[in-house]
């Protein structure tokens, strides 16, 4: 079992060795996607095992896997797989156009692999200190991806990203220190005081004041990674300047990793602080939805549009956690999975759009449906899915969250609904204009047919969202319920 759990992060990490073999663009892409597929397979095997035998712990809690970690591991592994396959097409095109030199292609593969491996590893540790170390390390690996194109804009975005996230994540370290300190009077060994299951078992005995500080700082610190407003300012720049498959990883995997850390802290703080934790999450959640929705209204760079949509969705997940209860957490987890798949598809679509039209401006792209039926179709369907229209998965999860809201405060729920409508209009107005209309004449080189490697993740993602919208598989339902059981 230990070997299986360790394989989940190690397989993607192995892809970092691919450049040593001297392969070029397609080979590098295939290596990272193979790592993703391997991680997904192992993650499913671990999930099945945890489902039947319960949480698994080794190396005095440094390795700890329960249902919640397996849920997030599977989500991240799906994203890594889709983005990995998307990387094949991305790297091929960049190599053909000589926009990236061989060193940059290799750096892409190495840091993509590191980023994926470190994120998956951070989901499999019970030690909150190690969790911090791994999340910070994955931030650093992703910062290199953001700055990869080495233009002034991407370097500036990467700088903004690394300095704001480092600042935020340092706050999360202070939070970890205070949590550790809040357990001082308990009869636990120093290592146990940093280990999540031990803290969770003694949650009602922790010192209230330092626990409150720890929770607040954790929401601010890890919330910076999640992109909760007002700590979201790095997010639109980093997402729009990173290579598109890397943007998909940032938006659909990294943000979730931060949310996972917040969920762990909330679970520990809940018995002692009670509704206080929910109120904090509601405040940050609503702030993010408002900011996300308002900035989506403005037209411009479509990758920024997707990025603000991520801010909005992270806000929705945070609000769902704030509503709390089984229904609220169920909605939050389901929404996490749906958003991850949907946003991954959209960013991979944007990769095709950017490479075909050579622009990131919404106003300069028209008639994607005619010029490239598959890309245009996925853009349209993906946009409808991400704003939460039926029959896609996000409709179901947003519906669950709204139901959870009506159990608590109807006023807040109505505000949430109004904001969702605003986001719907703002988002679809932009993307519908890109998909429809007359395509402008483009030179022959850019009208090359969509390659199989770039079509697979798009079609698979949309199909997955459709399935999740119509039917929640029994295994997924059990997994989410077990995850809720692990933190209550």
């Amino acid at each position: 079992m230990t070997a299986l759990v360790l394989l989940v992060p190690v397989l993607p990490l192995l892809a970092a060795l691919a450049p040593l073999t001297g392969v070029r663009a397609p080979g590098l892409g295939i290596a990272v996607s193979a790592g993703g597929i391997g991680a997904l397979a192992c993650a499913i095997a671990v999930t099945v095992d945890v489902g039947s035998h319960g949480a698994y712990s080794a190396f005095s809690g440094f390795l700890y896997v329960d249902a919640l970690s397996t849920f997030f591991t599977i989500t991240v592994a799906i994203v890594v797989t889709l983005a990995g396959i998307g990387s094949i097409a991305y790297l091929k095109t960049e190599e053909r156009r000589a926009e990236l030199d061989l060193l940059q292609l290799r750096l892409y593969a190495i840091f993509f692999a590191l980023f994926a491996g470190l994120m998956l590893a951070s989901l499999e540790t019970g030690n909150l200190g190690l969790l911090w170390v791994l999340i910070e390390a994955s931030t650093l690996a992703s910062a290199v991806l953001v700055g990869l194109e080495a233009k002034a804009r991407s370097l500036e975005a990467a700088w903004k990203y690394i300095i704001i996230s480092s600042f935020g994540v340092t706050m999360a370290l202070v939070a970890t220190l205070f949590l550790y300190y809040s357990a001082t009077s308990l009869a636990l060994s120093p290592n146990q005081r940093l280990t999540w299951p031990a803290l969770f078992a003694h949650a009602h005995l922790l010192h209230t004041d330092s626990l409150r500080l720890a929770f607040l700082l954790a929401v601010i610190g890890y919330g910076t990674k999640v992109g909760l407003a007002p700590m979201h300012t790095w997010l639109p720049d980093a997402h729009s300047e990173a290579p598109s498959p890397a943007s998909a990883m940032l938006s659909a995997a990294l943000l979730n990793t931060g949310m996972y850390a917040i969920i762990r802290f909330q679970a520990v703080a809940l018995p002692e602080l009670g509704r206080y934790t929910n109120r904090v999450l509601l405040v940050f959640g609503f702030a993010s939805i408002v900011i996300g929705a308002l900035f989506m209204v403005r037209r411009g760079n479509f990758k920024r549009l997707f990025a603000y949509s991520s801010v909005e969705h992270m806000g929705i997940i945070s609000v769902a956690l704030g509503f709390g209860g089984v229904l609220g957490v169920y909605g939050a987890l389901l929404h996490t999975l749906n958003h991850a798949i949907g946003k991954c598809v959209l960013f991979l679509t944007s990769s095709e759009l950017v490479q075909r039209w050579r622009t990131r401006e919404t106003g300069e792209v028209h008639g994607a449906l005619r010029a490239a039926p598959l890309v245009g179709g996925v853009l349209l369907l993906g946009s409808l899915a991400i704003v939460g229209s039926p029959p896609f998965g996000l409709f179901l999860s947003e519906f669950t969250i709204v139901r959870a809201g009506f159990h608590g405060s109807s006023l807040l729920t109505f505000i949430l609904l109004a904001l969702l409508v605003l986001a719907f209009i703002a988002f679809v107005r932009s993307t519908a204009g890109m998909a429809t209309g007359e395509p402008q004449p483009v030179d022959s080189e850019t009208t090359a047919a969509t390659s199989a490697a770039s079509a697979i993740p798009l079609v698979a993602g949309i199909a997955g969202l459709l399935v999740l919208g119509l039917w929640i598989p029994g295994g997924l339902n059990d997994l989410i319920l077990h995850s809720i059981g692990a933190i209550r």
Binding site: G129, A143, G147, L173, L177, T184, S185, G300
Partner: protein, 231 residues
């Protein structure tokens, strides 16, 4: 009383180690203020190096008082990496190569930032009341002072727009966290401490690369290209 607690209380404010620890904390706070009140890049680096050396000393004091060999390792690593290697690398790869002397990208006057810094220090004392901590800790001055250093580091990052000044601000903030860490959690598992350190080193390396890359591009990049990100 658990053995850990008994151990921590051996660091009480009256003992020699407690006094030395408090003294180091105050010196580190002064370094942060000095950096906040300076306008020369070279000074920033000097004050950061001084602060790191004091931090290494503080780690050694705690390591001695609590008899924790881990902390000795940490003290040596702090001295070598934060006290010597990072300042050296910053000077050689950034200040000398880019020929930086005077920082002009400061958004508030020096006296204003010093006053805000003083207010933040007072706030740190108000926020970390003795009740916040489960046990009347020991070197009770250290926790509010480390909080103040964290806030001052943040202030440096906020009022300075130059990337190198922001980098130094973040490093000062990190030192504040470390000062808090060695007293609050002297018994942190070593593997975690080592990981934190490794992350710091990697972060500084990547930041230095970005800053020098950015400086190279900025010389040629046109202004409209940069304005693209400002909305």
């Amino acid at each position: 009383m658990t053995p850990v607690l008994a151990q921590i209380e051996s660091l009480s404010a009256a003992s020699t180690s407690g006094v030395l620890l408090d003294l180091s904390a105050v010196l580190m706070l002064l370094c942060a203020f000095a950096c906040l009140g300076s306008k020369l890049f070279d000074r920033y680096v000097t004050y950061y190096a001084l602060q790191s050396i004091v931090l290494a000393f503080a780690a050694a004091v705690v390591g001695h008082a609590l008899n924790q060999p881990d902390l000795w390792v940490l003290a040596v690593a702090t001295l070598l990496i934060k006290g010597i290697a990072i300042p050296l690398a910053t000077r050689r790869f950034l200040l000398d190569r880019l020929d930086l002397r005077r920082d002009v990208a400061i958004s508030t006057g020096l006296s204003t930032s010093l006053i805000i810094g003083a207010a933040l220090t007072a706030f740190a004392y108000l926020a970390i009341r003795p009740g916040t901590l489960p046990h009347a800790l020991v070197a009770s001055a250290v926790v509010p002072i480390s909080t103040a250093i964290i806030l001052l580091g943040g202030l440096c990052m906020v009022v300075r727009r130059h990337t190198i000044a922001q980098l130094i601000g973040w490093l000062i903030l990190e030192n504040g966290v470390f000062l808090g860490a060695i007293t609050l959690t002297a018994t942190f598992p070593f593997i975690v401490e080592a990981g934190i350190f490794l992350d710091l080193v990697a972060a500084v390396l990547i930041m230095i690369t970005f800053v020098s890359g950015l400086a190279n591009r900025l010389a040629t990049a046109s202004a409209p290209e940069l304005r693209g990100l400002r909305h």
